[in-house]
Symmetry: C2
């Protein structure tokens, strides 16, 4: 597989970065995970806009124009011959002097890698067991709302899920609300309304999360933001998770509790899949 | 400068790591910063014990024995001819599959780099201006007590200090207490007692911090742990910071407030310098 390495296309084995790179040293960087279908990155502008916001906050200049990057991404997809894929775009602050101060680190480093899309069978959609993680997220913290390369909280949460043979961990924030999955946004069904925690709860503003709002609008399903406690979420009418790589996923168990399943979830799973398919097909050259 | 790269000694320009390394992707690793004096790493066993505790929690195996590593560190110091230095030891979980789960990532990657010691003149010790950071730390969080490669909170805090021409930022935790510096532990003087926040406040258990306890004992200066609020710390009898690279540093200003200076701080600065000098000289072969 070829890798886009800050302007060059190189084989995986040559895709190397300095051990003085600040993303290696401190996780001082940002990333995006983008679904590619029909050779087209789904919602490229939204992902790049989120990257832009993060890079503005962290003061890391993006070393290529967004249209130029899109050209590189398309070439990466074409040269690897992988039309159904996950594209990972990583932006590091690059090399600097020892220590936390980013002073003088002004050669950012951008990497794009391509990964086979996870296998999925529309007839047998994934159904996840969830566990409640012991790791908490900071509510109202600007840094938590960015897709940064500081992911140990999520890694430890995911490790807790792995240990119990669950597919995802859900995390509480410092206010005591259940707010997101380790690698997904969290939604629940309350009667026929789709509900998700507000951005201020300390979550990542998922691109797939925002697409679910669009789909609810289109399907005339009411959708709103609210906070929920762990004891209340188990008795809701359904839980679903959203993430770029897999789209919408239904949860069927949380810790030791079986979860209700809602027809609304099935509708969203199908609507999301259809949207990715039609939108990328339409953009495919 | 030569770099120790997971078993090999290579020139800086060849000290490279895969872009699929999890410390580059997610900050999935740990590090130690160790003062080297007279060619000897000061308090090597304590640093390696902290690394061991972190690696146990994150479940990253240290790929070399501690005595073997010490041999590599001594060779790195000797070959670079840098007897007064800062040694950085970084441990990454290594390459894995895409995503947060560490499953299958079982080839950890260990790097040691050497950096010239910061210049310091015993006649003119550093005196820092501090700023209060807007970034908060999670109290009572196990992850915050490890020296992990997730350092964006500290980087952003340090950026706030840089912007105001201050040398260090101090951070509050989610309980509202002032708990540590971006790259240092925090102490204040209350009459003639040296006080520092307890470990449960969400701070890093600094090796230099623990040496200060020893020195207080030796100097017969009372020393204890306590919490302090931002409004109370400005009126204390002195603030000092501790960190491996510089030892003990006195603060003379916090935000817009000048700080009192205590003879106890001067005593600790001198006692720490003398201890590093005598202890490493005694171990020097």
């Amino acid at each position: 597989m070829l890798v886009f390495l800050n302007g060059k296309f190189v084989p995986e084995a040559e895709a190397l970065v300095s051990v003085f790179d600040r993303s290696f040293l401190y996780g001082d960087g940002l990333f995006e995970t983008i679904r590619v279908s029909h050779g087209v990155p789904f919602r490229w502008p939204q992902h790049l806009e989120r990257l832009r916001q993060g890079s503005e906050f962290l003061k890391i200049a993006v070393p290529f124009g967004f249209e130029e990057l899109r050209g590189f991404a398309e070439r990466l997809i074409a040269e690897n011959g992988l039309a159904e894929a996950i594209l990972r775009l990583g932006l590091s602050r690059g090399k600097g002097v020892r220590g936390y101060s980013p002073k003088g680190a002004d050669h950012p480093f951008l990497v794009m890698t391509l990964h086979p899309a996870p296998e999925s069978d529309p007839q047998q959609p994934a159904r996840w067991h969830l566990v409640t993680s012991s790791i908490r997220l900071l509510a109202n913290e600007r840094l938590s709302s960015l897709k940064t390369c500081n992911k140990l909280a999520q890694i430890m949460a995911r490790t807790e899920a792995d240990a119990l043979n669950a597919q995802e961990a859900i995390l509480l924030n410092t206010d005591g609300y259940v707010v997101e999955g380790a690698s997904s946004n969290l939604f629940w069904i309350d009667k026929n309304t789709v509900v998700t925690p507000p951005l201020a709860s300390g979550i990542l503003p998922g691109i797939t999360r925002s697409v679910i709002f669009e789909l609810c609008d289109r399907l005339k399903v009411p959708c709103r933001e609210a906070n929920i406690t762990p004891d209340r979420i188990v008795s809701c009418d359904g839980i679903l998770l959203s993430l770029a790589s897999l789209g919408v996923v239904e949860a069927i168990r949380l810790d030791d509790q079986p979860l209700r399943q809602s027809p609304v979830t099935a509708q969203l799973i199908e609507a999301y899949r259809a949207l990715v398919d039609s939108e990328t097909r339409a953009q495919c050259r």
